[in-house]
């Protein structure tokens, strides 16, 4: 048995050797093999001169070997930080095949390497910032719209929740339960992709504002309810004692006292909101995240994402300071 296997293997080997010239044809396999052997031994100069032996294709000859050889040379030059010679090799290919993507990409990469890192970063900034800026404006618009809507929505939900009318408080409980209990992404999908089947088609911007507005109203509703209920019950009694009705007592006495304690949790929510707006990139809205993603996918350049992160940070920082300022102003009466 062992004997038979050995014989078969030997036969197979001979067969392969016999057939191989048929496949190699007129190729430069041996040259490449020689070059890679030399490279493995560290003889880069010799490898380069061997690769140089492969001439440009003449007539209708195929140029694959030539391209491979020159690109290989370019890589060797680049690995020795000889960008000039590497570029030369690249351009040799591009002269004959101007559309060759490998050569084009390698040339671009080499050219980037030629200029200092900070300058290439600046160049990227100049390239990406106008697009990202536009996206950031959309994000900001979306954030401001939601910030304007959700406190009022939240107040309505909070007042509904603490009202003594059972259907109203039940409805508000349901709204909070639903919007807090399902993912924002799902709600956005439902509004943008789902509502059209019910005959309601909304623009991405409107869908985003409605989705974020409802979601944040639900969250703020609970925060506002907590703040209202945390105000000393004596305040309501004192307001009633001078003859105020419920509405007057709420809006003149109770709610103004909640502002200071509302600011930290609402600030928190709004910071989360700035980042949550990135979710609306999924419903065809071109805001900061989407712009950054597009840039990244077009240029494979991480700078686009870095810049987007910086813009998000700038926005959250700005709002953090604004909220701190408002909190301070809202609580000024408590200072002794």
């Amino acid at each position: 048995m062992k004997y038979l296997t050995g014989r078969a293997a030997t036969a197979l080997l001979f067969l392969c050797l016999a057939v191989s010239p048929l496949f190699a044809g007129n190729s430069y396999d041996r040259t490449f093999r020689e070059a890679s052997d030399l490279m493995a031994q560290g003889e880069l100069d010799q490898a380069l001169s061997v690769l140089q032996n492969i001439p440009p294709p003449s007539g209708d000859e195929e140029g694959t070997a030539f391209i491979s050889a020159r690109m290989q040379s370019a890589r060797i030059h680049a690995s020795r930080n000889d960008n000039g010679k590497a570029l030369e090799a690249c351009r040799e290919v591009l002269n004959l095949y101007p559309d060759n993507s490998e050569a084009l990409n390698f040339e671009a990469a080499l050219e980037r390497k030629e200029i200092p890192r900070w300058r290439s970063f600046l160049a990227d900034c100049v390239k990406f910032l106008p697009v990202l800026g536009k996206g950031a404006m959309m994000t900001l618009l979306l954030v401001l719209c939601t910030m304007l809507i959700s406190p009022f929505g939240g107040l309505l939900i909070a007042l509904g929740r603490i009202s003594t009318i059972p259907p109203l408080s039940g409805l508000c409980w349901f709204i909070i339960w639903f919007f807090r209990g399902t993912p924002l992404l799902l709600q956005l999908f439902f509004i943008y992709y789902g509502l059209p089947s019910a005959g309601i088609t909304l623009s991405p911007m409107l869908s985003a504002v409605i989705g974020l507005g409802l979601n944040y109203s639900a969250y703020l509703g609970e925060i506002i309810r907590g703040a209202i209920q945390s105000i000393d019950h004596g305040q309501m009694e004192a307001a009633k004692a001078i003859g105020m009705n419920y509405r007057q007592a709420m809006f003149r006495i109770i709610i103004p006292q909640t502002y200071k304690r509302l600011m930290p949790p609402i600030g928190n929510e709004f910071i989360a909101l700035i980042k949550d707006t990135a979710l609306v990139s999924t419903i065809a809205m071109v805001e900061l995240m989407r712009s950054a993603d597009q840039m990244f996918n077009t240029y494979f350049n991480i700078t686009a994402l870095v810049l987007a992160a910086i813009i998000y940070l700038a926005m959250t920082t700005l709002f953090t300071f604004v909220f701190e300022k408002i909190e301070y102003r809202a609580g000024i009466y408590e200072q002794r």
Binding site: A238, A241, G243, M244, R252, Y333, Q335
Partner: protein, 258 residues
């Protein structure tokens, strides 16, 4: 004060229960215009509950409250008791001033703002007039110099005087004081008593719940001793605090306080 007048406030068989505890038990009370009535008694005897029932901060379970002869708070239709409309209840409260043990000043408003709030929001007076009324009331309680100050910076006594001014700004027909000095440091009690005295001298009708027997003796036309939701004794200060008080319960209560 003469008892021939119509009573300003009349309570008939008022009962208030908390679950199965009877806080106020079938109490009858008449307060006449200009009268100074002081209610004393141990903690938990229902004094505060009774006081708070008068301006409907507590919902009573049984009985009738009459203010200037008309029934307030509840209407009886076909043998069933209904709440008055919210606006009727607010109108009643606007005529009854109330001062709380813990002041309950509005912390987000200045002293002047606190006093203006009633005339401005409830009586819908123009802000200039409300400001004038409020400034006058603050002057009356001796706090003209604290008008633009927030409550957080005031002492307890000053806070309570602002609270009194806030109630007075509504020009109430009657003032209710719910232990107005119990939350104050002893040295601040005097200024609040002084203010209440001044008010009494002007002829304000008042019902005061207090633990300060000296104050009660000085000010009251009539003193009521309350215990377990009922009136145990009622009379002039001399009758109640006098040496010939025979009721053992009242004497031991008074002895403990003095």
């Amino acid at each position: 004060m003469s008892k021939d007048n119509e009573p300003l406030l009349a309570l008939e068989k008022i009962t208030k229960r908390y679950r199965n505890i009877v806080a106020v038990n079938r109490i009858n009370l008449e307060v006449f215009p200009g009268e100074k009535l002081v209610i004393i008694g141990p903690s938990g005897s229902g004094k505060s509950t009774l006081l708070r029932s008068i301006n409907l901060l507590e919902e009573i379970d049984e009985g009738v409250i009459r203010f200037e002869g008309r029934e307030v708070g509840y209407t009886t239709k076909n043998g069933r008791r209904h709440h008055d409309t919210p606006s009727a209840i607010c109108a009643l409260r606007a005529e009854i001033g109330m001062v709380f043990q813990h002041f309950h000043l509005f912390p987000h408003m200045t002293a002047l703002g606190n006093v203006m709030e009633g005339p401005l929001t409830v009586q819908r007076k123009p802000s200039e007039e409300a400001r004038r009324i409020a400034a006058g009331m603050l002057e009356k309680v001796g706090l003209s110099d604290k008008m633009d100050v927030f409550p957080a910076t005031l002492s307890g006594g000053q806070k309570q005087r602002v609270a009194i001014a806030r109630a007075l700004a509504m020009h109430p027909r009657i003032m209710l004081f719910d232990e107005p000095t119990s939350a104050l440091d002893p040295e601040l009690v005097g200024e609040v008593f002084e203010t209440i005295h001044k008010l009494a001298d002007e002829g304000m009708t008042m019902v005061i719940v207090t633990h300060h027997m000296g104050f009660a003796r000085e000010l009251a036309d009539r003193v009521i001793f309350m215990e377990s939701g009922s009136f145990l004794a009622e009379g002039t200060p001399v009758e109640l605090f006098g040496a010939n008080q025979t009721n053992e319960r009242i004497r031991s209560f008074l002895n403990r306080l003095i």
